[in-house]
């Protein structure tokens, strides 16, 4: 009983601490990365290489004045950022960072929430992501906010469909929705050097999923809802200080959770990066740490990819965005699914 409680608390602490601790690093990488791509210097005054800049930002957010505009709906105005942050953190609960191990005789699963639904929990939690935005837009009682919120919600909802078609294709190939099974299917190599990642099995589904997660997290090139030059700041116009910081955090954590899902389905999850097996063979006890390290490195590369794309592409117009989702990506996803099923069937019969 006591061990169960300690296990739950420890797992929660680690799974929460990793993304929240990585958050200042990601913000810093985004700003310096943006500067690097735009051929300028980013923040480099506060601390060596500007590394203390996020800390300064956090302090600024804490000490800034809490504005209480008179025209907002009070309860929902304060509830919206909390909802957004909690719903963004939820998918992290089902993501394991290493394979189940034995500690003191009991097998420990590294994810906080282990259940039969496996990866569906993350998708179900992402489906709730629109509510924070809707609440924020509506509670602000502001035309721009409402419009931005409705557009963001319609966009997120449209791209969830192509995301789900990719998910069905991958579950079909892996045969199970359990994340450990998915990762186990992706360990090993073809021809001795090509890792058995889902990306090579299903490149079309991987591209669809990639585009889908950009749209889900409202990142460029899909960030019309919060585009700075379009409708000012969209659904978080009326927010300042810590509430805005919570939206900001929610967006980055959503990005981390979706990257982790993408890595699990298409890049082997916590399976070891090529080359790490040498170390794992010599020191068997370090397998869990190496697996966690692999996952972290893969997710970090994915986050850098997010930053890279953000500063390389212009924004989509709203009608282009919606037509892309419904008229191009969805039929590609369905066609990919049909071709995969028929191919697997005729290969086995």
């Amino acid at each position: 009983m006591l061990e169960a409680i300690i296990e739950i608390l420890l797992k929660t602490a680690v799974i929460l601490a990793l993304p929240l601790g990585a958050l200042p690093i990601i913000i810093h990488v985004e700003r310096r990365g943006a500067a690097f791509i735009q051929k300028r210097l980013g923040p480099n005054r506060v601390g060596p290489l500007g590394l203390l800049q996020p800390l300064a930002d956090v302090a600024k957010f804490m000490f800034k004045e809490e504005v209480h505009p008179s025209h907002v709906r009070p309860f929902f105005y304060t509830a919206a950022p909390v909802v957004a942050l909690v719903v963004a953190i939820l998918p992290l609960a089902c993501i394991p960072i290493f394979a189940p191990i034995e500690i003191f005789g009991r097998s420990v699963y590294p994810e906080v929430f282990k259940s039969d639904m496996g990866i569906f929990f993350a998708f179900a939690a992402s489906a709730l992501g629109s509510y924070g935005i809707l609440l924020a837009g509506w509670a602000s009682n502001n035309k721009y906010s409402m419009l931005g919120a409705i557009r963001a919600c319609a966009q997120m909802v449209s791209y969830e469909l192509s995301l789900s078609t990719s998910l069905v294709a991958m579950i079909f190939l892996y045969g199970s929705n359990d994340i450990h099974v998915m990762v186990a299917e992706q360990t090993g190599y073809w021809f001795g050097f090509l890792p058995k990642w889902g990306f090579f099995l299903q490149p079309v589904a991987a591209m669809l999923f990639l585009i889908g997660i950009f749209a889900e997290s409202n990142r460029l090139p899909f960030d019309l809802a919060e585009g700075e030059s379009e409708i000012v700041a969209g659904y978080h116009i009326e927010y300042s200080s810590m509430k805005f910081a919570l939206f900001f955090m929610a967006e980055y954590i959503h990005m981390i959770a979706l990257s982790a899902l993408f890595i699990i389905m298409f890049f082997g999850g916590y399976s070891l990066l090529p080359g790490m097996e040498l170390i794992a063979d010599r020191i068997p006890a370090s397998l869990a740490i190496l697996q966690a390290l692999s996952l972290i490195i893969k997710v970090a590369s994915m986050i850098w990819f997010f930053v890279w794309v953000r500063w390389s592409f212009p924004r989509f117009r709203y009608d282009q965005l919606m037509n892309l989702g419904w008229e191009r990506l969805l039929p590609i996803g369905i066609a990919n699914l049909i071709v995969t099923v028929l191919f697997v069937y005729f290969r086995n019969h």
């Binding site: 039969d116 569906f120 929990f121 939690a125 489906a127 709730l128 409402m146 919600c153």
Partner: protein, 167 residues
């Protein structure tokens, strides 16, 4: 046991808020919370996949629809034009008592109202296999129902547009 009682209580509270709150958006969000609590009840009962589907579909699509509608038509409060009618009150109370009586009878005597699916292996995989082989017809009927809903949706929406263009 405590979790069951707590979840049931939460569900009923939110359901009552849906029915009795005067502000539309509060009602819509209480509907969302009701659906989420029901998903947690499903999880407690062991039907884990159903719980995930409940959140995905009910809370993640249907409740969004309700919230969209409340926000798009910008209705602040439900108009309260109920007239108090004694006959209606009596009939309503009678109906509720009849329903409660039927429920009590069924629960106390363990009457099976639906034919049970007999599965040798009670796992999720066996259930799904059964669904797509033996019970394939209801599955296809559901698909056709969805097709009908899609067509109806599009027709109703474009009917309004054609009426506008004619003017």
């Amino acid at each position: 046991m405590a979790a069951d009682i707590l979840l049931t209580f939460i569900t009923v509270v939110f359901a009552l808020m849906v029915v009795f709150s005067k502000r539309t958006v509060v009602a819509a969000f209480s509907l969302l919370m009701t659906l989420l609590s029901i998903a947690m009840i499903y999880f407690q009962l062991g039907t884990v996949f159903l719980s995930a589907v409940q959140v995905l579909i009910n809370a993640g699509a249907i409740a969004i629809l309700f919230v969209f509608v409340m926000m798009l038509i910008n209705l602040e409060n439900f108009t309260n034009n109920r007239e108090k009618n004694k006959t209606k009150l009596i009939i309503a109370t009678f109906t509720v008592l009849v329903i409660l009586g039927v429920l009590a009878l069924v629960i106390n005597n363990n009457i099976e109202t639906l034919s049970l699916v007999n599965l040798a292996d009670n796992s999720m995989k066996a259930l799904f296999e059964k669904l797509f082989t033996t019970y394939y017809l209801p599955f296809e009927m559901a698909t056709v129902l969805l097709l009908a809903a899609i067509v109806a949706c599009v027709v109703i929406a474009s009917h309004g547009k054609k009426a506008e263009e004619k003017q």
